[in-house]
C-alpha cells in the first residue's frame, strides 16, 4: 500500500480554480469557513451549500464521468459525508428539524468548499505553502526549516516501513499461535521503532548531521 501513490490526487487540470495560487485558496477557505460558522441564517447557509456544490461541479468533482482510477478518491470523501449525516441525524433527534437543516447546509457548504480546494491543489503545492509559511520563522531563528523538511521526509519515508514491520509482527505472533493481543503487538512494535530511530540518527550523523554549518 503506497501512501504516496494514494495521496488524494488532483482532479482534471486546467479549471479556473486550478489556476489560483494555493495560498489564496487556503485563505479563501479559511475566511469562508469562519463566516459559515458565525452565521445561522438558513438562507445564507442554504445558498452557500448550493454555491459550494456548483464550485465542486465546475472543477469536475466528483469524477464520476471520467472512468479513471477514481474509486479510491471518491470513497475517501465518503467518510466525511457519513460523519456529516450521522451528526445531522443526531441533531435532528435532539434539537429538531430546523436546527438539523441549518447544520446540514453549513456542514455541506464547508465540506464542499474544502473538497474543491483539495481537488484542485496538489500535495506538493500544499507543502510549498507550508514551507513558505515557515520561512519567516526560519529567518528569525525560531525554527530550522531544513530540519522541519527532514522530519517530514523521515515520517513519509518510514511510514510504509513501519506498516510492514507491523504486519511482520502480526504474522510472527500468529505463527506462535497467540491471539492478536494488543500488548503482544505493541511492545515489539515500539521497541523496534525506537531502535530504528537510534540507527537512523547515527546514519544521519554519519552523513554530516541534520543541520547546516
Amino acid at each position: 500500500m503506497s501512501l504516496l501513490n494514494q495521496t488524494l490526487e488532483v482532479s482534471a487540470k486546467g479549471t479556473w480554480l486550478h489556476r489560483w495560487p494555493a495560498g489564496l485558496k487556503l485563505l479563501s477557505l479559511f475566511s469562508l469557513g469562519t463566516a459559515l460558522v458565525l452565521t445561522d441564517h438558513i438562507f445564507i447557509l442554504g445558498a452557500s451549500a448550493v454555491v459550494a456544490g456548483l464550485v465542486c461541479l465546475s472543477v469536475h468533482w466528483p469524477p464520476f464521468m471520467r472512468g479513471s482510477a477514481s474509486s479510491t478518491r471518491s470513497s475517501v470523501f465518503l467518510w466525511p459525508l457519513i460523519t456529516l449525516m450521522a451528526i445531522v441525524a443526531y441533531i435532528g433527534f435532539v434539537s429538531g428539524f430546523e436546527h438539523a437543516l441549518v447544520v446540514l447546509c453549513r456542514l455541506l457548504a464547508l465540506l464542499l468548499f474544502a473538497i474543491s480546494v483539495m481537488a484542485t491543489t496538489s500535495v506538493t503545492a500544499m507543502m510549498a505553502v507550508v514551507e513558505k509559511f515557515l520561512q519567516p520563522f526560519d529567518r528569525w531563528g525560531w525554527i530550522r526549516a531544513d530540519k522541519v523538511a527532514l522530519m517530514f521526509g523521515i515520517s513519509l519515508r518510514l511510514m510504509p516501513v513501519l506498516l510492514e514491520q507491523w504486519h511482520e509482527i502480526r504474522e510472527a505472533q500468529a505463527a506462535r499461535g497467540h491471539r492478536a493481543s494488543p500488548l503482544a503487538l505493541l511492545v515489539p512494535m515500539l521497541v523496534r521503532t525506537l531502535q530504528r530511530a537510534a540507527e537512523m540518527a547515527d546514519a544521519i550523523d554519519a552523513r554530516g548531521g541534520s543541520s547546516a554549518r
Partner: protein
C-alpha cells in the same frame, strides 16, 4: 588515508567491548570478521566518531576524531547494514540531495553529481523512484549511492551483503572492487573478503588475528566454524 586507534577502549557499564586497541589502518581493502556481538560494529563506529572511546583516542588522517567530527564525517562514508534505516527521504534523488546540501549548495552541480553517482552504480533509472517500492538489493545500492555521492575518502561498510540476494551481492562485490577509495568492510561473507589485503579478527574485546586474507581467513574458518 590512515586511521589510528591509540590505546582505545570501549566499555559499556560493566562490560568491556574493546580493550586497549593500538592499530593503524591504511590498506586499500581491509576486512573485519568475528563472532556476533564481539565488537565489530563498535570498532567500525569508532572510525567516524559515531561512538567515542571510553579511553584512548581515534585519529583519522592526522585529525583527532573527537574534536573534528564534522570534518571526519565528510571524509568517511559509512554504509549501514539495513538500508531502511539509512535512507531518510521518500524519493531517491531527494535523499542524495540531502547528503550534499552542505557540501554542494549549487543545485546544478548537485544534480550533476547525483546523476553521475547513480550512473556509476548503474541505477540511474531509480532516481525518481519512491524508496519503499524498491527491492532490498536496490535499496542497498541506493544507500551506497547516497554515501558515494559525497565523495568520501574512505568507505566503511557494516555487513553490506548480509541482506542481499545472490544477484545483488555479486553486483555489490563488483562495485566494491572498482571503488577508488579504500574500503573497510565488516562481513560474515568470507568469500567477499578473499581478495582483501588485510583481515582482522575481533573477538573477546581484542584483535585475535591480523594479516593478509590468505592467512587469516583459513585460520578463522578453522577456529570459528
Amino acid at each position: 588515508m590512515i586511521i589510528e586507534f591509540e590505546a582505545v577502549s570501549v566499555e559499556r557499564g560493566a562490560r568491556t567491548i574493546l580493550r586497549e586497541l593500538n592499530i593503524s589502518l591504511s590498506e586499500a581493502r581491509i576486512g573485519i570478521v568475528g563472532p556476533n556481538g564481539a565488537g565489530k560494529s563498535t570498532f567500525a563506529r569508532l572510525i567516524n566518531g559515531l561512538l567515542v572511546p571510553s579511553a584512548g583516542r581515534m585519529v583519522c588522517n592526522g585529525l583527532p576524531v573527537a574534536e573534528h567530527l564534522n570534518a571526519v564525517r565528510q571524509q568517511v562514508g559509512f554504509l549501514f547494514q539495513n538500508p531502511d534505516n539509512q535512507i531518510v527521504f521518500p524519493v531517491v534523488q531527494e535523499d542524495m540531495a540531502f547528503g550534499l546540501k552542505h557540501s554542494l549548495p549549487d543545485k546544478t552541480l548537485r544534480a550533476a553529481r547525483i546523476q553521475a553517482t547513480l550512473a556509476q552504480l548503474d541505477i540511474a533509472d531509480l532516481a525518481d523512484r519512491a524508496v519503499h517500492t524498491l527491492s532490498g538489493g536496490q535499496k542497498q545500492l541506493v544507500a551506497l549511492a547516497c554515501v558515494l555521492c559525497m565523495q568520501p575518502d574512505l568507505l566503511v561498510l557494516d555487513e553490506p551483503t548480509t541482506q542481499l540476494d545472490l544477484r545483488f551481492r555479486n553486483r555489490l562485490l563488483q562495485i566494491i572492487g572498482q571503488l577508488p577509495q579504500p574500503v573497510i568492510a565488516i562481513s560474515h561473507d568470507l568469500a567477499m573478503l578473499e581478495t582483501f589485503e588485510r583481515v582482522l579478527v575481533i573477538d573477546q574485546a581484542s584483535i585475535q588475528a591480523d594479516g593478509p586474507a590468505a592467512e587469516v581467513l583459513p585460520w578463522y574458518r578453522a577456529r570459528y566454524a
